[in-house]
C-alpha cells in the first residue's frame, strides 16, 4: 500500500504514523563493526558533512535500517533560497549527496529530491549546489512547484490545521528522509526538522496567517519522516532563514540525527544555544505528545571526530 493510499483512505493519523515508523526499530539484519544500540539520537561533531553522516548512520545500524531494496526514497532538504552553500541558507550539498549515495547503495529503486522553494526554484536548485550534487550521486531532481502534485489530506489531530495539501512524493514514497539545516528564523526563532515540512506543502501562506507554530506542530501529527538529519555544518546564526551574507554564518561542523522530530529539534536548538521550550512549535508538539523535549532519558550517541 502506498503512503498516499493511507492518507486517502482516511485512516487515522495514529495508524499512518505507526506505519511510517514501522520500518524502523528492531530490524538488525546487517553486520557492522560499531556497537549497535537503539539510539534515539545521534550527535556528531568535528568532521566534514559526509563523514559525519557516515559515522552517525553507521551507529544507528546503517541506512539499511530505513531503506530496503527496491524502495522509493525521498530526501527532502531545505532548499528555499537562491543562495550559495557558504551562505548556509540551504542544506549542505555534500551531505545531501552522501545521503543519496547511502540510499542507492542500500538498493533503493529511486531517490527523489525536491523542495517547494521560496525563491524562484530553478535558481535555488542550481545555486545551492544541491541539484548538481544529488544528480551526480544518482538522485532524480523534481520541481516542487507544480500545484497538481500536491494532494489534500486530513489532519485529524491538528488543532488549527485541519486539511493540508502535501506533495505526492511524500505521500507515495516508501521512505522519507528529512534533511533540514539548522538556522535562525525571524518568525519561528529557529528553522529545524518540523519547520522543514513547510517545504512539502502547497498552501503554507495560510499557516502564516493562522498561528504558524500551531500549524507546524499540527502537520507533524500526520507527516512523520522516517529519519531526520539536521545539518549543522555551517549555521546561519543571524538574519535567518535567508541570511544577508556569509557574515551571518558560523561553522559548527555538527550534525544531529533522530527518528523523532521533536527529539531532533530539541537537540538542535540546544546546540545553537536556544531553549527549545521557547520555540512555539517544539513546545506544542511536545504537549501534543508527538515527542519529548526531555532528552535526559534518551539513548544518545555523541560522536566527536
Amino acid at each position: 500500500m502506498k503512503r498516499r493510499d493511507f492518507f486517502r483512505k482516511g485512516i487515522g493519523a495514529g495508524i499512518a504514523a505507526g506505519a511510517a515508523i514501522s520500518i524502523g526499530p528492531g530490524n538488525k539484519l546487517f553486520a557492522g563493526a560499531a556497537p549497535m544500540l537503539d539510539y534515539d539520537l545521534v550527535a556528531v561533531k568535528g568532521g566534514e558533512p559526509g563523514t559525519m553522516f557516515d559515522q552517525a548512520i553507521q551507529s544507528l545500524g546503517g541506512i539499511e535500517k530505513y531503506v530496503k531494496k527496491g524502495q522509493r526514497v525521498v530526501v527532502k532538504p531545505n532548499l528555499g533560497w537562491d543562495a550559495t552553500p557558504e551562505r548556509a541558507a540551504n542544506t549542505n550539498p555534500e551531505l545531501m549527496a552522501r545521503i543519496v549515495e547511502h540510499c542507492l547503495a542500500a538498493g533503493a529503486k529511486d531517490v527523489y529530491v525536491f523542495d517547494n522553494t521560496i525563491n524562484e526554484w530553478t535558481r535555488c536548485y542550481k545555486n545551492s549546489g544541491i541539484e548538481k550534487a544529488v544528480k551526480d550521486a544518482g538522485a532524480k531532481v523534481l520541481s516542487g512547484k507544480s500545484k497538481g502534485s500536491y494532494h489534500e489530506i486530513a489532519v485529524d489531530g491538528g488543532r488549527k490545521l485541519k486539511r493540508v495539501q502535501v506533495h505526492e512524493l511524500i505521500l507515495e514514497s516508501d521512505v522519507f528522509i528529512n534533511v533540514p539545516v539548522l538556522k535562525t528564523h525571524g518568525g519561528t526563532v529557529l528553522s529545524l526538522s518540523m519547520k522543514n515540512l513547510m517545504g512539502i506543502v502547497w498552501d503554507r501562506r495560510w499557516w502564516h496567517a493562522n498561528d504558524l507554530h500551531q500549524c507546524i506542530a499540527d502537520i507533524t501529527t500526520v507527516v512523520k519522516p522516517d529519519l531526520n538529519v539536521v545539518d549543522a555544518y555551517r549555521v546561519l546564526k543571524k538574519n535567518g532563514p535567508r541570511g544577508v551574507s556569509t557574515a551571518d554564518v558560523v561553522t559548527m561542523k555538527s550534525q544531529i540525527i533522530a527518528e523523532n522530530m521533536v527529539v531532533a529539534d530539541t537537540a538542535a536548538a540546544k546546540l545553537i544555544g536556544k531553549d527549545p521550550a521557547q520555540i512555539g512549535h517544539i513546545r506544542m508538539a511536545d504537549e501534543m505528545g508527538l515527542g519529548s523535549m526531555d532528552l535526559s532519558n534518551l539513548k544518545i550517541n555523541r560522536i566527536v571526530i
Partner: protein, 535 residues
C-alpha cells in the same frame, strides 16, 4: 547570381529570424545566453533606434544596418527580419496552401492612412512625450506582445503536458512550469492585433505593412530613393501578370509596367515567378527602369526629379530624427505624478508604480520602453507584468513590477540583460543589489503578529537585505521593524505578507531609482568546536 534565388535566400533568412525571435519570447527555461538574445534583437528597427539614442553606442547600431540595407535594396527588413512581417507571410502561405485560387492584384497606395500612422505617433511623441502611439504600432513590439502574452502560455502548457507524460515514465528531463496569468484586460491589445494582422494577411497580403505600420512606411520613404530597385524591363515583359498575382504588397501595376517600390516588402516572389526574367533588381539610374520614384500612376503625387513627394519624405525623416534625439535627452523636470491614491488608515498608499531594476526611474523607462514584453517573457518570477494604467493610459502595456504576482529575485539581472531598447539598462549583479526601486512601508495595525498575537515573520524571512527584521515583542513573539535605507524595493515582503485584503507591508515605488545602503555586517564569534554537546 541569378536573381531567382533571392526568394530562397529571403525565405531562409525569414525562417531563421522568426524562429529565433519567436523562441526568445516563448522560452522559459533560460536556454539561450543573454548575449545571444541581444544578438537576435540587434537588427530590430525601433528598439535599436531607441537604444541608440539612449546609449549612443555602436552596440545599438542595428537600425543603421537596416537604413543602409534599405537605401541599397529597399525594405529587406520587412520580409526577412521583421517578425510580424514574417508571421503575416506565414498566414498568407497557409492561405495559399488551403485555397488554391488565391490571387493578389494591384491596389492603390493608402497614403492618407500610412502617412497618418507615421505622423500621428510622432506627434504624440513630441506633444505628450509618450511612446504610446509608436508602441502600439511598432511591428516588432506587436509581435513581442503576441508571442509573450499569448504564445508563451500555450508553449508552457504544451511543455507541461509533455513533461507530465515523461514524469509518469519516471523521466525528469522536462519540468512543468506554472503559467502565471496576467490581468484579463492586458490580453485585449495583443489579441486584437493578432486578429487584425491575421485578417489582413489572410485576405490582403501585406496590407497591414503598407497602411498601418509606421516602420514600413518610414522604410518605404527611404525605398523611394534606393540605389537598387525592383523594376520591369519593357522589352522583355509580356504582361502576363504573374508577378502582380504573386505580389503580397499589391504594388505591381502591369498596365503601366510599374512597381511602387515604396510598398515593396522585398519578398521577391515576383522575381521568382516571372517566366521572362523581366522583373528584377535594377540600378536606379538604369534607363530600362520603369519603377518610378514617386507614387505609382494614379496617385496624386507627381513624379520626377526633385518631386515634392521626395522632399516630403526627406523632411519627415529629418523630423523623425529630431524628434527622437530631442526626446532622448533625459530630464526629470517635467515629471508628472502618475497616480495618487486616496490614503486610508490601513490601505497601502502607493504613490508610484515600481519600474524594473536598471530602468533608472519612471521617466527613463516609460520614454524608452516599446512594451515588447521580452523582459516579461524572460523574468523567472513573473513579477514583471504588463501595465494598464499604472503609468497612466499613455504607458499602457509597458511592464511594471507587480508584487501581487511575485517579487524580484535578488540575485537575478535577466531583464536588464535582454531589453533591446535601453529602457532597462544592463546592471551588474552587485550594482543591482544596491539599486533601490522603491522603499518598504509598514502598516503595523495590519500585521498578523500585532493584531492577532501569533507568530509570522514571513516578510523578514523573504527580505534579502533584512530591511525588515523581526524584533522581540511579547510572549516570545517577534514583530517586524523596517530599515528603509537598506531596502531594495524587491517586493518580497509585500508578496509574502499573508494578511488580506490589505497587506501590512508593501513597497512604494520611486520616481527615480535610488541607491540603497549596504546592510551592516558584524563579525560573529565562531563557536568552540572542542565544547561538549549541550545535552
Amino acid at each position: 547570381m541569378h536573381q531567382r534565388s533571392l526568394k530562397t535566400i529571403r525565405v531562409i533568412m525569414a525562417l531563421l529570424f522568426i524562429s529565433a525571435t519567436g523562441f526568445i519570447f516563448i522560452d522559459f527555461r533560460e536556454l539561450l545566453p543573454t548575449g545571444l538574445i541581444t544578438g537576435i534583437t540587434f537588427l530590430q528597427f525601433l528598439p535599436s533606434l531607441l537604444s541608440f539614442f539612449t546609449t549612443f553606442g555602436l552596440v545599438a547600431a542595428g537600425f543603421i544596418v537596416i537604413l543602409v540595407l534599405t537605401i541599397l535594396f529597399g525594405r529587406i527588413y520587412c520580409s526577412a527580419i521583421c517578425p510580424l512581417g514574417i508571421f503575416q507571410d506565414a498566414v498568407s502561405w497557409i492561405r495559399k496552401k488551403t485555397k488554391k485560387k488565391h490571387r493578389y492584384r494591384f491596389g492603390k497606395p493608402q497614403n492618407r492612412w500610412r502617412y497618418g500612422f507615421l505622423v500621428l505617433p510622432l506627434l504624440v511623441l513630441l506633444a505628450g512625450k509618450s511612446l504610446v502611439g509608436v508602441n502600439l504600432l511598432d511591428p516588432y513590439s506587436i509581435f513581442g506582445r503576441i508571442a509573450s502574452d499569448l504564445f508563451q502560455p500555450v508553449y508552457i502548457w504544451l511543455n507541461n503536458r509533455i513533461a507530465g507524460v515523461l514524469e509518469s515514465m519516471n523521466v525528469f528531463f522536462l519540468y512543468p512550469e506554472n503559467i502565471t496569468p496576467a490581468r484579463g484586460l492586458t490580453y485585449v491589445i495583443p489579441a486584437f492585433m493578432l486578429g487584425l494582422v491575421i485578417w489582413f494577411s489572410y485576405t490582403r497580403g501585406r496590407l497591414y505593412c503598407n497602411t498601418i505600420c509606421p516602420v514600413g512606411t518610414l522604410l518605404g520613404l527611404l525605398s523611394r530613393v534606393a540605389i537598387f530597385r525592383i523594376g520591369m524591363i519593357e522589352g522583355l515583359c509580356t504582361k502576363c501578370g504573374k508577378c502582380a498575382v504573386a505580389c503580397k504588397a499589391s504594388c505591381i501595376r502591369i498596365k503601366s509596367l510599374e512597381v511602387d517600390f515604396s510598398r515593396c516588402v522585398g519578398c521577391y516572389n515576383c522575381i521568382s515567378v516571372c517566366p521572362e526574367d523581366a522583373i528584377k533588381y535594377l540600378p536606379a539610374a538604369g534607363s530600362a527602369l520603369t519603377s518610378r520614384r514617386g507614387g505609382p500612376a494614379g496617385s496624386v503625387d507627381p513624379s520626377g526629379p526633385g518631386d515634392p513627394a521626395r522632399r516630403e519624405a526627406l523632411t519627415r525623416m529629418i523630423a523623425t530624427g529630431v524628434a527622437l534625439s530631442g526626446f532622448s535627452l533625459p530630464d526629470g523636470s517635467q515629471e508628472t505624478v502618475i497616480e495618487n491614491k486616496v490614503p486610508t488608515e490601513i490601505k497601502p498608499v502607493k504613490n508610484f508604480p515600481v519600474t524594473p531594476p536598471g530602468s533608472l526611474g519612471i521617466r527613463h523607462f516609460t520614454t524608452r520602453c516599446t512594451a515588447c514584453h521580452l523582459c516579461i517573457s524572460a523574468c523567472p518570477t513573473s513579477v514583471l507584468q504588463p501595465s494598464l494604467v499604472e503609468y497612466g493610459w499613455s504607458g499602457i502595456m509597458q511592464p511594471h513590477m507587480d508584487y501581487s504576482t511575485n517579487y524580484c529575485n535578488f540575485e537575478c539581472t535577466l531583464c536588464t540583460d535582454v531589453c533591446p531598447t535601453g529602457a532597462i539598462l544592463s546592471l551588474a549583479a552587485e550594482a543591482k543589489k544596491t539599486t533601490q526601486l522603491g522603499q518598504v512601508q509598514l502598516i503595523l495595525e495590519n500585521c498578523v503578529v500585532y493584531a492577532e498575537n501569533t507568530a509570522c515573520g514571513s516578510c523578514s524571512e523573504h527580505c534579502p537585505t533584512q530591511a525588515v527584521t523581526m524584533v522581540p515583542y511579547r510572549q516570545g513573539l517577534t514583530l517586524p521593524e523596517i530599515v528603509p535605507e537598506i531596502c531594495v524595493g524587491c517586493g518580497a515582503c509585500e508578496y509574502a505578507c499573508p494578511v488580506r485584503p490589505f497587506k501590512a507591508i508593501y513597497v512604494d515605488g520611486h520616481q527615480i531609482h535610488q541607491v540603497a545602503q549596504k546592510p551592516e555586517t558584524e563579525e560573529l564569534e565562531q563557536p568552540d568546536l572542542e565544547e561538549e554537546f549541550p545535552f
